[in-house]
């Protein structure tokens, strides 16, 4: 069995974001990047499946972007993936989800993967499209938003999170794509010995331009901070004073302090 995990590198979401020169995405300088949180669950689930199957499947981790994304690939290798693929693209944010999916599908189609794991969405763009589009382009079965995963006798049992705590259970025949939701598992921390071992694992470099076969179908016009609630008050200062101020506001504006 051949398994692919697609990971994205995103900025730390605690960062302060400002528009870049083009005004359509964030300025990258000063930002610290890490693996997209949803993708950590995807990596963990792929590695758990490899362990369940006695180490037989080969797990490839793929990421698209500039050189810095090698850090995310190395983390996945240290978590237990076998080989990395870096699809080199200096500015992946210029591609829409359809093009990103097309690049992944072109690569994956040539490699004969049986099962593809992705996060259900990225924390920065949040379109929740790429995984499903990859499945459509490859003609694979697909289930999204997994909070449960089981594999037996060639069949994936996917537990999907629906609204209000309800879950939906589906069976998927391989080949398949699954997209992972937070809480699916507990992603492991790479240990020092595994980090050292990962340094010896292969990372194949492939140019995105050779894989892209699609024109964009959507375009970002502008990137900007949200408007704040009109009349919202920001209180700053030392704790004692903040306590008094908030108490006064709640007394005046609400009926909960009697």
């Amino acid at each position: 069995m051949k398994i692919l995990v697609c990971v994205k590198q995103v900025p730390d979401m605690e960062s302060r974001f400002r528009p870049d020169g083009g005004g359509t995405w964030f300025e990258e300088s000063d930002l610290a990047f890490r693996m997209n949180e949803y993708d950590e669950y995807a990596v963990e689930q792929a590695v758990q499946l490899k362990e369940q199957l006695g180490g037989e499947p080969e797990v490839t981790v793929l990421s698209i972007g500039p050189d810095r994304v090698n850090e995310a690939i190395k983390k996945a290798l240290a978590m237990g993936c076998d080989r990395g693929v870096h699809i080199q693209d200096p500015a992946p944010q210029g591609k829409d989800p359809w093009q990103i999916a097309s690049v992944i599908a072109t690569f994956a189609g040539g490699e004969g993967f049986d099962l593809i794991f992705t996060g259900m969405q990225s924390q920065d763009r949040g379109s929740a499209q790429v995984g499903v589009l990859v499945a459509e382009l490859l003609g694979f079965a697909c289930a999204t938003t997994l909070v449960g995963f089981a594999f037996a006798d060639g069949v994936v049992t996917a537990t999907r999170e629906l609204e209000g705590g309800i879950k939906g259970v589906a069976r998927l025949r391989l080949p398949a794509v699954v997209t992972c939701q937070l809480g699916l598992n507990i992603p492991r921390y790479p240990t020092l010995p595994n980090i050292m071992k990962a340094k010896k694992k292969e990372i194949l470099g492939v140019a995105a331009s050779g894989l892209l076969q699609e024109e964009p179908v959507a375009a970002t016009a502008r990137f900007y901070p949200p408007a704040r609630k009109g009349g919202g008050v920001v209180l700053e200062g030392e704790v004692g004073s903040l306590v008094e101020q908030l108490y006064g506001i709640l007394k005046e504006k609400t009926t909960v302090l009697r």
Binding site: E14, L172, V234
Partner: protein, 304 residues
């Protein structure tokens, strides 16, 4: 513009989100048609054409089957855009439809700005405007972002849709019900919620203490529930409970879009966060810029 609105139906029930789709179509000024994989016994109100496929025949959600039915409705209606709610149904099905139509998709729309669609990004800290570049487009709207029309008058003109069997690699097995409710937050007048900024499980009782002092209930954001600090019945947000108390106090919650969707209808919102730029500030009436674990015990003491 003609919009095809994809209604949701689960286990014999039409979901209320249908009326949010109608509100969005009104905002677009679009002529509308609807498609429903459901039953005659649970039709949406309102006039217009409704393409109806019988859920009794097609079963509960199978993405490949629902894709074919929606595509048939797109062809029959001549719609320019296909609109879903950005729900577990919509985000699963919309890209499948978009892929076949080779249509540009815009996900989780929160507004319409300068002719483009406004969406959240960077965990809701920022916004983008996105425009499809194709003649047909696929849109998903954020639950709650456009309100609902209320139940409109009239009844739709029903046209039946049947599609031939086709290949599917997906088999629906069943639903698992929500775990027995520990707490019904929808009735609470005050909710004090714990987020990741609380730091660790041992700190949750401090937040609970404030909830008690205000005569309210403990709520929580998703990461806190996933980490096992608080049980699921306390979760506020898209996959938890949607609440509208008189007072909502968000403690150490940055304000992911899914959390905001569950609490932004609260009458009065107080957020306590170290980060002045946290997206929770977008909906907060008062943002207290402070460390939760310093501020909350002091505020609780004042109340007592």
């Amino acid at each position: 513009m003609k919009a095809l609105l994809v209604c949701e139906y689960r286990e014999g029930t039409l979901l209320d989100s249908t009326y949010e789709l109608l509100a969005f179509a009104d905002r677009l000024g679009a002529e509308r048609a609807l498609v429903l994989i459901g039953s005659d016994a649970a039709l949406p109100a309102g006039t217009g054409t409704l393409y109806l496929a019988d859920a009794a025949k097609y079963g509960e959600y199978n993405p490949d089957v629902h894709k074919r039915i929606v595509l048939e409705a797109v062809a029959r209606s001549g719609a320019d855009c296909v609109v879903f709610v950005h729900s577990s149904y919509g985000w699963d099905l919309a890209p499948r439809v978009a892929a076949v139509l080779r249509a540009g998709q815009v996900s989780e729309i929160v507004g319409i700005v300068d002719g483009g669609y406004e969406v959240g990004c960077c965990n809701a800290k920022m916004r983008r405007t996105v425009a499809p570049k194709t003649a047909k487009s696929v849109l998903t709207i954020q639950a709650g972002a456009f309100g609902a029309t209320g139940i409109p008058a009239g009844a739709p003109q029903v046209e039946r849709i049947d599609v031939a069997d086709g290949a599917t690699g997906v088999e629906f097995v069943g639903y698992e019900p929500a775990e027995a409710k520990g707490v019904d937050l929808t009735r609470a007048e005050v909710i004090v919620s714990a987020g990741r900024g609380v730091g660790k499980k041992e700190n949750v009782p401090v937040i609970e203490g404030l909830a008690r002092a205000l005569g309210g209930e403990l709520g929580a954001s998703r990461p806190v529930v996933d980490a096992g600090w608080v049980e699921h019945s306390h979760q506020v947000g898209t996959t938890g409970q949607t609440v509208s108390p008189k007072l909502y106090v968000a403690c150490g919650i940055s304000g992911a879009i899914q959390h905001l969707a569950g609490m932004k209808k609260s009458d009065f919102i107080v957020a306590i966060n170290k980060d002045k730029d946290a997206p929770i500030g977008e909906v907060a009436d008062v943002l207290v810029v402070a460390d939760v674990m310093q501020f909350v015990p002091a505020f609780t003491a004042k109340l007592q």
